[in-house]
């Protein structure tokens, strides 16, 4: 009886209510390093972990600053800024991830008498901004493990419309022989929504990612399985850090990815990283469907303060 009641309560909480899913802008990738590794989690050593598994903040030494920027289809700007620091009682991080589009035509419809038909004309323009704010906390666990928690605030502005919502992420890191297991769950509170000023809402999708980070000599192999919007997605990354050039890193990845309509796509990604004293510079490349530009480039910087 208890088990049945528990199951019913779980179903009530876990089943999505009748609303479309909110598009998570972080699905693009949180940094050039992460994109170069097929959008895998758990391998970062900087404050960008605020937007990934927060338990990974344990790899960030001292204080760290991260910046990621991309321009998709020459019209959509992405920017990620994050900061983290280690304290006596764990690591703390904050960050903002933004997607911005300017000059979207505002339109007006009028009846053109000569053709007996309504025509549409532009009467100005407006901007679109989708922001995600995060506060993260990481705490060490026994046996070299780590636990992390993030609070997410979502804020959307489309002309005069606004949308707001919030949710929680959790993450774990656990050593397994010579490798590490990363478990990362985004938006763990089921059926939380982003509410819009026009009385509509979108459900924040719960995304669960299980990643295995396996170092083999100069190589690190990172297979990952994610569950998102009722679909299983496989990704994998491969990082090569040659022992004879310790400041250089080659990245490649494969990812299965959902578009805005939840259709599955797959892509290969490539990249490299350079370490210059306390600064890490990463570049990633992937093909794009867009007719006018068949690829997208990503750049990110990490700095140990």
């Amino acid at each position: 009886m208890i088990l049945r009641n528990f199951f019913l309560i779980f179903l009530t909480l876990a089943l999505p209510i009748q609303a479309g899913y909110y598009a998570m802008i972080t699905d693009l990738g949180i940094s050039a390093q992460s994109i170069g590794l097929g959008n895998t989690h758990g391998y970062s050593d900087s404050s960008e972990a605020v937007f990934s598994n927060p338990a990974t903040l344990k790899y960030s030494k001292g204080s760290s600053f991260s910046l990621f920027s991309a321009e998709v289809m020459s019209d959509i700007d992405y920017l990620q800024l994050s900061l983290s620091t280690q304290t006596d009682f764990g690591s703390i991080g904050v960050g903002v991830y933004q997607q911005k589009v300017t000059n979207i035509p505002a339109t007006y419809e009028y009846l053109e008498a000569t053709i007996g038909m309504k025509k549409i004309v532009q009467v100005g323009s407006y901007d679109y901004k989708n922001s995600m704010y995060k506060i993260s906390y990481q705490h060490p666990l026994g046996n070299n493990g780590s636990f992390g928690l993030s609070y997410n605030h979502y804020n959307v502005t489309i002309d005069s419309y606004t949308g707001r919502g919030n949710n929680i992420d959790i993450g774990f890191l656990a050593p397994l022989y010579q490798s590490t297991i990363s478990l990362y769950a985004q938006n763990i509170i089921p059926n939380r929504q982003v509410y819009y000023s026009n009385n509509s809402a979108e459900t924040l999708p719960t995304i669960i990612s299980l990643t295995h980070i396996i170092p083999v000599k100069d190589l690190t192999f990172i297979p990952q399985l994610s569950h998102q919007r009722s679909q299983l997605l496989f990704s994998t990354g491969l990082a090569y850090k040659p022992s004879f050039i310790p400041y250089f890193q080659l990245l490649c990845g494969y990812k299965q990815h959902l578009d805005y309509t939840a259709k599955k796509h797959q892509k290969f990604t490539f990249g490299f990283g350079l370490t210059l004293f306390l600064l890490d510079v990463y570049y990633a490349y992937e093909r794009s469907d867009y007719y006018l530009k068949d690829h997208t480039s990503y750049i990110s910087l990490n700095y140990q303060l």
């Binding site: 693009l28 019209d75 959509i76 979207i104 505002a106 025509k119």
Partner: protein
């Protein structure tokens, strides 16, 4: 354009009375069909076209089959830029994509991309059909147009391609 073309074209059936028919033109002003006013009458008499702005008139078995306007000699371009109304668009409430075309013999490849750069919709607009008419075209943007897929709030980009060349592009925002 429609009224102007009607005034310019006079159809006279020689006997017993004049102007016994209705002329049907498409949105671009080209001839589509002729319906007799009184089917009981003999309409086998010759049809006299007094004046026309059509540059090309094709006849089949002595009857006017179709026409092509001088505008089809123009290069392909948008006479009115592609725009979405209302903006931002709510798919559940519906909207319209409107644009004007300079020709009616163009095959238009229409593609929509999401903010990650993925192509989420591809359609083809053919000549003399909705979306491929010379003059102004209005495409209904409703759930059926998007194959009943939910489009999350965000910005979408679109392109029009003709003969593997970009004819025009635009963007629109969606609210839930």
């Amino acid at each position: 354009m429609f009224l102007k073309s009607l005034l310019l074209c006079l159809f006279i059936v020689t006997f017993p009375v004049t102007l016994l028919g209705t002329l049907t033109l498409n949105n671009a002003g080209d001839f589509m069909s002729f319906n007799h006013f009184n089917p009981g009458r003999d309409i086998s008499q010759p049809l006299l076209l007094l004046a026309s702005r059509w540059q090309v008139s094709n006849f089949q078995s002595g009857s006017l089959a179709n026409t092509a306007n001088a505008s089809n000699q123009l290069p392909p371009f948008f006479t009115d830029p592609p725009l979405v109304h209302p903006s931002p668009l709510s798919i559940k409430n519906g909207g319209v994509l409107g644009y004007g075309l300079s020709r009616n013999d163009m095959i238009l490849d229409f593609r929509i991309y999401d903010a990650f750069g993925y192509e989420i919709l591809k359609k083809e607009f053919r000549p003399n059909q909705i979306g491929g008419l010379r003059g102004y075209n209005r495409i209904e943007l409703n759930p059926e147009f998007f194959d009943n897929n939910y489009l999350p709030a965000g910005v979408y980009l679109f392109v029009f391609i003709h003969n593997d060349e970009l004819l025009g592009k635009g963007k629109f925002a969606v609210v839930p």
